[in-house]
Structures are given as C-alpha cells and as structure tokens.
C-alpha cells in the first residue's frame, strides 16, 4: 500500500471496492482508477502496442498514453479507457489490455527481442512481398500481436443523446485562468458555459499549494465554484470534454453523464453529445508536462513529475514507496516539493541546471530532499522501477527509488486552436509552441497560451473573460483579478539524454529515439513524413505528450532548430469520441423516422409485409394463409387486379398544390410536354428534365381550376421537385405569379384498379357520374365520397387496367380503404402492395426509379415523342446534344428469356451472342425484372444499344456477380395491352 497517511481530495470515510485483472482492491470516492491502483501499489497497468513492454501510468489526465484499460464487462465493456480519467465507483471492474496470457507474463513481449526488425517503417519494408502472404499470414499475426483492447461483443445496452446549447462565452477548462475567465464573464451577465473535462473544477489548483487572495488555492476554487453556481446565467459542465472547434463558433463536446456510475441512472443517457454555439470562447486548457527522452524512460514507475505530484497531493497516493524527480524547470521542482509536503517520500531532485532558485533550494533543504544539480538520468532498472542511474559532471551514481517523476517543461495544450487550420508558433523565450491563428471568437488564456505563472494566469483569465463578455455585448465591470504570489518559472530547454538503451519518444506507439534517427537517415525528415514513417503521434493519445519530443529530436538531427523543423497540427476530436454518442437517439428502430401511410394500421391488420421506401413504410404484399412464398402472394394480387379489382395506398407520392395565374407557364417550362393547354378537369402525365437534359422525375399533374393545379411526384423525389419548383420561381423566373404548397401530408390517396374498379367506385361516391363519359380516361372529378367526405377522383392507371385514384383528407384514408374493401367484396377486391404494383408497371413498360436513375434522357426511355417543340423547357437545350441522339445509346426495350423457365435478374449486362464479356462489347443493362403471372414467365426492362431496331433479336444477358449467363429476346417494353385499350374502357 502506498496510500499517504492523510490529505488529498478523497473521502477517506468511505471505501469503494474494485477489481483490476480479477484482483480486488479498495479506494475512496474522489479517486480515479489510476490513483487507486497506485495507492494499492499497482504500478504495472498495461502493455505497449507493438513490443508488449510492461507499462505504468505516466500522466494524471486524458493525455495518458499507457494506462489504457478495458472498463466494465459484458456488453458494457469499453476498451482503451484511460485509467487516469475513470472515476472510481464501488464495484468497478477493469482489465489490462495487450497481454497474453497475463499482464505479468506476456508471451508476445518476445517482440522486444526482435525489435531491431520492428523499427520505423517496419510494416512498409517487411510485408511487401509476396502479396499472397498478406492475407493469410502477416495480417492475422499482426492483428493478434498488435492492437489495443477488444470491442464488446454484444449491443450497447445504454442510450445516448445529443443536445444544443447557446452561450455568449464558452470557457474551456476550469483551472486558474478558466475560473477567473468564467467569473469575469459571468459577473457581466453574459451567458457563460464553463466546460471541464475532470469531474471536479480546479485544474492544477487541485494539486498545488498556492496562495490566492490570501487563502489556499482550494479555498479559491470553492469560492469561485459557489459564486458561479449561484449565477443563473452560468452553466457549469463538469465531466464534459470539448473535443472540437468548428466553423461558425460551434464547439463539439461530450458530457459523460453516467460514466462514473456502474450503469446510467434510469431514463438518463450514458453520454450526451453537445453542440455548443458560443459567441466567444476562452480556451484555458492548461499545459502538458513534457517528457524527457532517456534510456529506460518507459519503465513502470517513471511518470510525469506533475502527475507524480498530483497523485500525492490531490489523491493522497504515492506512486512508489520512495521517489525522485528528474526536472528541467522550477514548476516541476515546486510541485515535487508540494508532494513531499503532502507525505510522499521524495529522496532526490535531479535537475539538469547548475542550481535551483534559492527559495526552492531552501524548501528542499527544509524537507530533507537532496538536490543533484547538472544531473541526468541515464538508465533505469527493475521490471517495475527499482533504481535509476544518475550522471553528473562529477560522476555517476545509482539511486534506489520506486518512482521517478520527469518534467521537461510545459507544452501548452493548444489542440483546439488548430482545428480550423491555425498553426502554432514557436516562442524561444519559453521554448514552446503557443497558439498562432486561433478560430474566430477564441482567445487563449493561461498555460495554454504559454502564460505559466499563477498570478499571470489569473490576470489573463480575468482580462480575457471580461473582454469576451464585452465583445458579446455585455459591459463587464472591471473587477480586479484574484491575486497570487509570484511563482518561479525558470527552466532550461532540454529534451533528450544521450545514452545507450531504448529511449521512448511515443510510448503508446512504441516509437524510440532510434526510430526518429532512422527516419532522419532514410530521408523522412519533414514532420508529417516522420509521423507517418514512425507512427509517432498516431495512437489514441494523438501524441499530446510525445509530438514535442519527437520534433525536438528531429531538430537536433537536422540541426535546423525546432521552428524550422515544424509542428504537426491537431484535428478533432481532442480525445476519442464513442460512435454511440455521435448517433445519439438514432439507432436501431429509431435510426431514422418511419413514416406510416394513412392506411398503415389497416394494412398491419391484414397481415401486410412492409418495405421501407424512402422513409415510408409501404405494404410490399399481403400474404394469405397457405401461400408458400412472397411470389405466390404477388402473383395472386396481380391476377386479381387484372381480372377483377385491386386496391393500393399511393399516399406516399409527393403532392404539390400550385395556384396563381402563371401556373401553366411554369409547368410548360418544367415539363417537356404542354400543361398550359390542359383543360380544367383533366390530368396529364409529364416528364421533367434537369438542366443537363437528363430525366429528373415524372408524374401526373391535374388542373383543378383555371389557376389551380395539383402535381404528383414520385415518392423518392417529392422534396427534390418542390425545391426545384421553388428554384424556378425564386431564382430563374421571379416574375411568375405562382404559389406553392406541399399537400403530401394532407391527402390520403388510394388507387383502385381493374376491370371492376368503376363498379366499386360507383358504390362509394356521393352522386358523382363515374361512367366512361362522365369521367373519361385522364379525367378529374371533385366532389365527395362516403356520405360527405371531400374527395378528388383522378382516372389514372399505372397498372394499365381501368383505374382511379381517390384522394381524401388524410384522417379519412383508413375509412376510405375500408369503404372500398366493403364495396369491392362482391368482386373479390384484393389489396396489393408495391411488389405487385412493380410487376404490373413492368408488364406495361412504365418507367420507374430503376430507369429514372439520373443517367437516362427522355429518348433513352422512349419518351422523346412527348417533348413539345413549341416551347422552351428546362433541359431542352442540353438534351439536344448530339450524344443524346446517338442511335448507339442504350434505349428502353423489353426482354424475355429464350428459355421461358429462366429467371431474369436486374443488373445483367447485354452482349451480342457469342461476344466476349468485355467492357468494349457491353451493349447496355437490365434495369427491372419481374415474374409476370399474366404471361407465365419472367420479363424484363432494360437499356440496349439501338434497342428499338432490334425487336426479336437474341442477346446475351451476362450477370457475373450472381453467375447468370443466358440468352434473352428483345421485345416491346409494353408486354400487355400495347395499345392501352384496357385503361380507356
């Protein structure tokens, strides 16, 4: 046990039990998994990605590269969770990753013995040849050896949600600068959001012994938190990581609502994705403690000096029975002395500088801590750290310590400033990159900006918080910044100890100083090349702590200096974001809206099988007891419709109401055929082109009154056609007086088709003349049905039979269906679904989505003769291009299998009989196929070169994907009733 005797922000009155790799431990509320493990003397927490080297925790925050664990079990198991950010709860279970059979004994750590072969560029060099070995040998072995945790093997039982928040000032980070900024902005009355990744506000103030406004840092944090909580215009968001900065002052954040609990509370999500729209932002994300690259620096027990201090002061956890610190800077020395005061047994401070400032030297002396100046750690030993070798100009010595804190200075956490393309700039005076161009509306305060002294952080936070509020329109009263004593910020730039043995630059991806040297030798010297060649900074931590060291090493090798060597920029997300929270509510049956038709419940009661078309749920077919498959049901539905009468809900078509004196003019310009001449009470089939001459949509438009038309569009294109019409009216021809309204939701529409459909309709209309004379083919009647329900009746036919479409206000849709079923019962009226509808339209040669595929012009579909030559319309000029009139263009025809028992498949390509299956010989393809119960064999529609000239010719339909290869006969696309007589009776 290395729990310190007292102190720390943990509740020692309560004990929590948890398990790591099946072994039981205890901790306290306020602990993280990492601090609790350290307090229990567990230093080995994982194995590395490539060499499976034993690794311990190195940080106390989300930048952690090593201590990745699988958290929870079963369906809630989450791999690659950073033990440093996991809040301890009672019953927590975690397991180490990347080890087999156990963390302690790992067979694959033999990788280390062959590490000379696993160096930089290893993958590129080793697995190039022979190609066949990749799939069978290399990849399985690599997958077994490398990689991180295991994904859970059951669906995630938890829920996630998304939310949007608006504020005047978003403050990211709640350390000294962030708290000061939030206070200054909050006091102005501005709406402030303070987002903090940790579960506790305070940042580094939680770990440091500073004096602010005459009291302790913790008192300051408590006062600030109390004040901010009391302000109604301030929203505190702990456990919230702002992971991305986006255009338009939008920020992405994840709030971990229930991650600190064994399972989320009832009715609460596990995580919530926030889109925060902020007029201004103050980034106060602090800084990372910079590692020093030295031989043996990855041994468990070696960690960041500030992390070592945080574990001692904030968590009351010793990282070892005794410790030393290897530093280059005053901040780390002060933190180490804080840790010693908190009870950590600190044996020595090894500093690379010739002397410490007097104040720090005096503190060390008072605490009995030995100071070794001009010292460098050149070696470490032990599986977990047992000793270190220190070299000074005066000689070498070995110290027996279980923990070593290392600090090479501060690397400002400027990750978010780069998300919109900003490039960090080098500041020689602090030997660090600081934010360059920042996203609009963002200001950076405190250590993230390279401002390290506590008093300066408080002042900068106050100033930037006030100016952010003032920029957002709030006059901030110039309250004084909290005051703190001056703190020493001396340092010496120092990145790399020369010496023998593996010195790690990127611990998560196992990149060593040697790998960087190799990349240099082989010419991969640009930072982006170094990154890709060695994988430096490409692990789940994205090089937060390692990039700087890698860059410094390369700068040493090239002799060009760090700013000339460059820096890698950062992209979102700042920390990994679970896919579940990005999906939010939209998964499983809520993946997208399911739109029921007005007759959905009725169809459900009839046992319909549904198919999703667009977002609509439509009946595909209505199976009857005893039918052995869908085809039998569909055949029955088609036959019943062709021989008697069938009924289908067609409410899903887009319906657009057009009113005004210029509707006819508009329609003439958007359809290839004429509509201004359409008589009132008549409907016409129309085809629309895109301006490039290809077909956009088709449908029937009816004229209800002189200045009133109603258009139908295909189900899929309803929104697109509406948008197109608005484009015409608003952008192309704003002089036209036409008003649009979508009525797709207002009207239910049901098609009744078949030779008996007139008799069925006659029974439900309120005194309307539906005879062939009273309501001829393509006629429209307005009146009422079912004793007073307003209705529009269109005599249209998609099936080719005598048919009508009856529209009623949507609430009456189900009643209309029931009335039609009752009226049609004597004729054996049969509900049919979209499968039967598809069969009947293919039998008639009507085009649909498979033919209106965005690659076909009117001529390809045999519709060119519809085009008016008396007017201009959208797409006319481009449709006149020579290529569109090329007789070699594949054109719509019908197909029958020569062997009438054979099955046709859409997607098959046409070849001349005997021609080889090459792209050069391709003559088109099959677009739609169906089994025609009317003809007793499969039929197809397709696009064939010079198709209409080739009636009766046999061609090869070749379908290599599904192994189809057969001869088919070219025929008219209208398989039945080519003259269209049935629909006119």
């Amino acid at each position: 046990m290395t729990r310190l005797v007292d102190g720390g922000l943990i509740d020692r009155s309560r004990t929590l039990s948890f398990a790591f790799d099946g072994k039981s431990f205890t901790g306290h509320p306020g602990d993280t998994l990492a601090s609790a493990l350290l307090a229990n003397g567990v230093r080995l927490m994982g194995r590395s990605f490539k060499y499976h080297r034993p690794r311990g925790v190195v940080t106390a925050g989300s930048e952690e590269p090593n201590a990745l664990v699988e958290l929870r079990t079963g369906a809630r198991r989450e791999p690659n969770t950073r033990a440093t950010t996991v809040e301890l709860y009672d019953g927590l279970e975690a397991a180490s990753q990347n080890r087999w059979p156990s963390l302690d004994v790992d067979v694959l750590s033999v990788n280390r013995l062959v590490s000379p072969f696993l160096g930089a560029g290893f993958y590129y060099k080793t697995f190039m040849w022979p190609a066949a070995f990749w799939e069978k040998l290399y990849e399985p072995v690599i997958r077994r050896a490398a990689g991180l945790g295991r994904a859970p093997d059951a669906p995630d039982p938890d829920t996630y949600e998304k939310a949007t928040a608006f504020c005047d000032v978003l403050v990211i980070g709640s350390g000294a600068a962030g708290l000061a900024a939030a206070q200054a902005a909050g006091r102005s009355g501005a709406r402030v959001i303070l987002a903090e990744e940790d579960f506790r506000l305070g940042g580094r103030l939680l770990s440091e012994r500073a004096v602010i406004d005459g009291g302790s840092a913790l008192d300051f944090v408590a006062r600030a938190e109390a004040e901010l909580s009391s302000l109604p215009n301030v929203r505190l968001m702990p456990r919230t990581t702002v992971f991305g900065a986006y255009d338009g002052s939008e920020y992405g954040a994840v709030e971990r609502v229930g991650d600190h609990l064994p399972a989320p509370l009832p009715f609460q999500p596990r995580q919530r994705l926030w889109r925060i729209v902020a007029k201004r932002c103050v980034l106060a994300a602090g800084a990372f403690d910079r590692p020093i690259v030295f031989p043996g620096n990855d041994r468990p027990g070696v960690m960041s000096a500030l992390a070592l201090a945080t574990y001692a002061t904030r968590y009351g956890a010793g990282a070892g029975a005794n410790a030393a610190v290897f530093s280059t800077n005053d901040h780390a020395v002060a933190a180490a002395l804080d840790a010693a005061e908190a009870g950590l047994k600190l044996d020595a401070i090894i500093d690379v500088r010739p002397a410490l400032p007097d104040a720090l030297a005096a503190r060390a002396k008072a605490l009995g801590v030995r100071v070794i100046t001009e010292g460098e750690v050149v070696a470490t030993s032990g599986k977990c750290l047992t000793s270190i070798t220190v070299r000074t100009p005066r000689g070498s010595e070995t110290l027996t310590v279980e923990a070593l804190g290392v600090s090479g200075g501060a690397t400002p956490n400027l990750n978010l400033t780069c998300h919109l393309g900003g490039k960090p700039v080098w500041r020689e005076d602090i030997a660090a990159f600081v934010p360059g161009a920042v996203p609009p509306g963002m200001a950076v305060a405190g250590a993230a900006a390279g401002t390290f002294a506590l008093a300066d952080c408080l002042a900068e936070g106050t100033r930037l918080g006030a100016s952010a509020a003032s920029d957002a329109g709030f006059a901030a009263s110039p309250a004084p910044a909290p005051q703190a004593e001056g703190s020493p910020t001396g340092f010496k730039p120092f990145f790399h100890v020369q010496g023998k043995g593996s010195a790690f630059v990127d611990q998560q991806n196992d990149v060593t100083a040697k790998d960087v040297a190799l990349a240099h030798r082989e010419g991969f010297r640009a930072v982006e090349l170094l990154k890709r060649y060695t994988t430096l900074g490409m692990a789940t931590d994205q090089g937060k702590t390692s990039n700087m060291a890698g860059l410094a090493l390369m700068a040493e090798l090239t002799g060009k200096g760090i700013p000339a060597t460059g820096t890698t920029v950062f992209r979102p997300p700042y920390t990994p974001v679970a896919l579940g929270v990005l999906a939010g509510h939209h998964r499983g049956i809520d993946f997208k809206p399911a739109r029921p038709t007005p007759t959905h419940e009725w169809a459900l009661a009839q046992g319909a099988v549904f198919v999703e078309t667009g977002l609509w749920m439509r009946a595909a077919y209505f199976p009857k007891p005893g039918e052995k498959d869908w085809l039998e049901s569909v055949n029955r539905e088609v036959k019943a419709t062709r021989e008697a009468v069938g009924v289908i809900d067609v409410s899903t078509f887009g319906k657009i109401d057009l009113q005004g004196p210029d509707v006819g003019v508009l329609l003439d310009r958007v359809y290839i055929n004429m509509f201004s001449t359409l008589a009132v009470g008549k409907a016409r089939y129309g085809v629309m082109l895109r301006e490039d001459g290809l077909v956009m949509d088709d449908g029937t438009t009816a004229r209800l009154a002189d200045d009133h038309y109603v258009m139908t569009t295909t189900t899929a294109n309803a929104a697109k056609v509406y948008q197109h019409l608005e484009f015409c009216l608003q952008v192309l021809w704003p002089e036209l007086d036409v008003c649009l309204a979508s009525v797709s939701e207002q009207w239910a529409q049901i098609a009744v088709s078949g030779p008996r459909s007139r008799e069925v309709l006659g029974k439900i209309v309120d005194g309307l003349d539906v005879s062939n004379a009273g309501l001829p083919f393509m006629g429209v009647a307005q009146g009422s049905v079912m004793g007073g329900v307003e209705a529009r009746i269109f005599r249209l036919s998609f099936s080719g039979e005598l048919g009508y479409e009856i529209a009623v206000p949507a609430r009456h849709g189900a009643a209309l269906m029931q009335a039609l079923m009752a009226a049609g019962a004597p004729f054996g009226i049969t509900p049919y679904g979209v499968e039967a509808l598809g069969v009947m339209r293919i039998e008639k040669g009507h085009v649909s989505g498979s033919e209106l595929n965005g690659q076909t012009c009117a001529r390809d579909l045999g519709l060119a003769k519809m085009a008016s030559t008396k007017k201009d319309y959208i797409g006319r000029v481009m449709a006149g291009r020579p290529a569109f009139a090329d007789p070699d263009r594949p054109t719509l025809v019908g197909f029958k299998p020569v062997d009438r028992a054979a099955r046709l498949r859409a997607g098959a390509h046409f070849l001349k009989v005997g021609a080889a299956a090459t792209t050069q010989n391709d003559e088109g393809y099959m677009t739609s196929t169906a089994f025609s119960p009317t003809l007793g064999h499969f039929i197809g529609l397709g696009l064939l070169k010079r198709g209409p000239e080739r009636m009766g010719e046999k061609v090869r339909a070749y379908d290599p994907v599904r192994g189809g290869d057969m001869e088919v006969e070219v025929c008219s696309p209208a398989f039945i009733d080519p003259q269209g007589e049935k629909q006119r009776v």
Partner: protein
C-alpha cells in the same frame, strides 16, 4: 433506441401516459388536434408582390399578420409566419373548407389558400423542464430573452421538419407533419423522460 419505447411500433403514435420517474412531471405534452377536438389549418401564401396588401387586408378583417417568424391571433384565428409571405393559420371549432372560405374572404384574391387540416399533429409542450427536454433536438436558441412569447421557428428536430411557436406563458406549440408524428413523439418521449413526462391526447395505443 431506448428500452422505454422498445415495445411500441415506430409507426404508431406513442400512447398517452406517464414516462420516466414516478412522481415527477417536468414536461407535459398534449395533442391539440384530436378526432374529438379537430383544429382546422391552412397555408396562406401571398401572391406575387402582394404581401403588403395581404397584411393590410387581413388586419382590416381582424387578423394581424407579421411578415416574420412570429405568431399572431385575431378573429378567432392563430397565424404563424413560416416564410416570407407565408403563414400557417389555425382555427378551433371550424372545418378545413370553412377556414379556407373564411381566409379567402379576408384575403380578397391576394393569396393562395390551401387546406392543411389533416397535414399535422399539433402538439402543445409545456412544463418547468420543457426547455431542457427540447434542447435535445431543437437547434434554435430557446432562452426566454432570445425566443420570446409569440416567436416562431420552422426548423428540423431529430430529422423531422417542424414549425413551432411560443404561445402564452411557456407553452410551445409544435406542428409536425402527420407521417412524422410517431418519430417526433419517440424523440420527445425519450428526451423528456428523465424529467418525468406526461403525454396526453395520443390515444391508448
């Protein structure tokens, strides 16, 4: 997906009832246009260049209109701006064709009027935590100093197009396309459940 709604078909309106922790009702919603109490609705679209004259004509007939995303009431009608020169008009105790005729009389040929009485689910949402629930899908700022009584928005919520406006007090009235109403209610129910959610007027399921 949430266990809360797993057993309810996604094509069906979420049945009326209480969702979430017992004893708490932070959010309430009620369907305002049920078969028992239908609401007539129509779109009113100004003819080319006629917006100003239409506003004058309607004001004279007792219905003030703003050419803005605002709601207004008068002459027993409730009008909501949904686009330049466009309004959605609601009326209680009237049939759709009656509302169309009434508006035609007011508009004097200056507008196209289209019956939409069957096109929407009209849902009134209120409660202390209504905003907290709505911010899980509404991407418009609902802060009372920003979105005030009478303000309206046509927007998209959880992949569903809606028009909503703030009525008297803190009630938000939503007009949701009829076929999208089940999806909208599923989103609302899971979003509001943590605060305690009382849903009424959607039938017993």
């Amino acid at each position: 997906m949430s266990d809360l709604l797993e057993h309810i078909a996604p094509t069906r309106l979420v049945p009326e009832g209480h969702y979430g922790p017992e004893g708490a009702t932070g959010v309430s919603a009620r369907a305002a246009n049920t078969s028992a109490s239908p609401l007539a609705a129509a779109t009113l679209v100004a003819r080319k260049g006629a917006t100003g004259r239409l506003i004058v004509a309607c004001a004279a007939a007792g219905l003030p209109l703003a050419d803005a995303p605002r709601s207004s009431g008068g002459a027993g009608l409730e009008a909501v701006g949904t686009g330049p020169g466009r309004w959605l008009v609601l009326a209680e105790g009237m049939s759709g064709p009656d509302l169309v005729a009434r508006l035609a009389g007011m508009a004097q040929g200056l507008a196209a009027i289209t019956d939409q009485s069957d096109a929407h689910l009209i849902l009134d949402i209120c409660g202390e935590r209504a905003r907290a629930a709505l911010e899980k899908g509404v991407t418009v700022d609902l802060e009372p100093t920003v979105f005030r009584a009478g303000d309206a928005a046509t927007t998209v919520v959880s992949h569903v197009g809606v028009t909503f406006w703030q009525r008297d007090g803190a009630t938000y009235r939503f007009a949701v396309g009829r076929s999208f109403a089940p999806a909208f209610l599923r989103w609302l129910t899971v979003s509001a459940a943590e605060f305690g959610f009382a849903l009424a007027g959607t039938g017993r399921g």
